[in-house]
């Protein structure tokens, strides 16, 4: 049952909230974003494309963050900062290093490039959603 990972992601994000000095209801809502992102990642797992999975995960958590930021009148950055944690390619960085020291150049390059790619995809997802939200909220303000 891999969906249980979402629960682990939630608690991991909760841990990071504790040392980011997050207060009140955000202590529940911010980690929830991490779980949402990972859920989306798992839901598109049948496609078998890691880049696409990461992209959809980021899109999901960014939309969640932007919506929550507007409902709760808080900066979206906090939500994003916490919720992105599970998608950060920590494993990729580690295995890249491990291939490097064991002298497996081919795998080192492959894993390294993939890790960089994932980081890029995360940034792209966040950027896309926040730009769209920015444009729409400007447009709404101008119309209203």
């Amino acid at each position: 049952m891999e969906y249980v990972q979402c629960i682990y992601a939630f608690f991991a994000c909760l841990g990071c909230c504790l040392y980011f000095n997050v207060r009140s209801k955000e202590l529940f809502l911010m980690p929830l974003g991490g779980a949402v992102g990972w859920l989306a990642y798992l839901l598109v797992a049948p496609t078998g494309n890691i880049m696409f999975q990461n992209f959809m995960g980021t899109i999901a958590l960014s939309v969640y963050s932007e919506v929550m930021a507007r409902i709760r009148h808080k900066p979206a950055t906090g939500y994003l900062l916490v919720a992105l944690f599970p998608l950060v390619p920590g494993g990729g960085i580690y295995y890249t290093m491990e291939y490097c020291i064991s002298g497996n150049t081919e795998m080192f390059l492959e894993t390294g490039l993939q890790t960089m790619g994932i980081a890029g995809v995360l940034a792209l997802g966040v950027l896309l959603v926040s730009s769209v939200f920015r444009i729409f909220s400007r447009a709404a303000r101008n119309a209203g």
């Binding site: 841990g15 504790l18 390619p89 290093m97």
Partner: protein, 254 residues
């Protein structure tokens, strides 16, 4: 109108935002808005992650510039939130300067979680991430121990004012040492999962992601600075873990 004090107040607020982990554009925009709300026609703010410059021209045509260096940054989302709120209130109500100054001070005085809770945070993060990356429950318990180690080392290095690069090497080497020892004694199963899980609190994923956002938003200097920072941390982690993993291979040839 006391422009000196106004400048001081807006700079305090901007630095508060920046040192608590707000984005560059938020800092620049907040400061500009406050200055304009208080009647300054011409204001220029330039921020990079470790300093802020601001220049205003008073209606009499007099220029005032201030610059502040930020030496330490901690993510404190409560402060970002409060400072952001205050900025909106100031722009809306433009209270007396002395009131505004007091309100900025009040944010700095807001409580943070005590040390024990912070330790619990690191422990919880490492525990959950070890499980998340596919470790067993036993691994997760070792992850928890590693999390506490990381926080202790960060705490100690903060006291000793050690360089971040060095701190990260020591912290990741300690984690790798604990994990490999636990596995070789048969107390845990996957040392790689423990190391990945525990080091998630140091991994510069956030820095790498925000660097892209800064670059896209046009803050090129800030973006490059964050990229360098992220790469340095990643290198330090790789060196720390690499040293520990490599040592037994060199000595016993396994």
């Amino acid at each position: 109108m006391e422009y000196d004090r106004l400048l001081q107040m807006s700079l305090d607020l901007g630095c508060l935002l920046l040192s608590s982990g707000a984005e560059i554009y938020r800092v620049e925009e907040s400061m500009n808005r406050i200055l304009q709300a208080y009647g300054v026609k011409e204001s220029d703010v330039f921020a990079v992650p470790n300093c802020v410059y601001v220049t205003i021209t008073t209606p009499e045509g007099h220029c005032i510039t201030k610059f502040r260096r930020i030496l330490r940054r901690f993510n404190n989302l409560d402060r970002v939130d409060q400072a952001n709120d205050l900025c909106r209130r100031l722009c809306r109500d433009t209270p007396e300067l002395s009131v505004a100054v007091r309100q900025v001070k009040a944010i700095t005085a807001r409580p943070t979680y005590n040390l024990l809770t912070e330790f619990a945070g690191y422990a919880l993060l490492s525990f959950s991430f070890t499980l998340f990356w596919g470790g067993t429950w036993l691994d997760a318990c070792w992850g928890l121990v590693c999390g506490i180690f990381i926080k202790s080392i960060l705490q100690l290095s903060g006291k000793l004012k050690a360089y971040d690069f060095f701190t990260n090497i020591v912290a990741s080497a300690a984690v790798a040492l604990v994990a490999t020892t636990a596995v070789s004694l048969g107390w845990a199963v996957n040392y790689d999962k423990i190391i990945i899980g525990a080091l998630m609190s140091l991994v510069p994923g956030i820095a790498i992601t925000t660097f892209m956002r800064d670059i896209m938003a046009g803050d090129l200097m800030a973006g490059l600075q964050r990229l360098t920072e992220g790469l340095l941390v990643a290198t330090a982690i790789a060196v720390g873990v690499g040293l520990v993993l490599m040592a037994p291979r060199l000595v016993w040839g396994v």
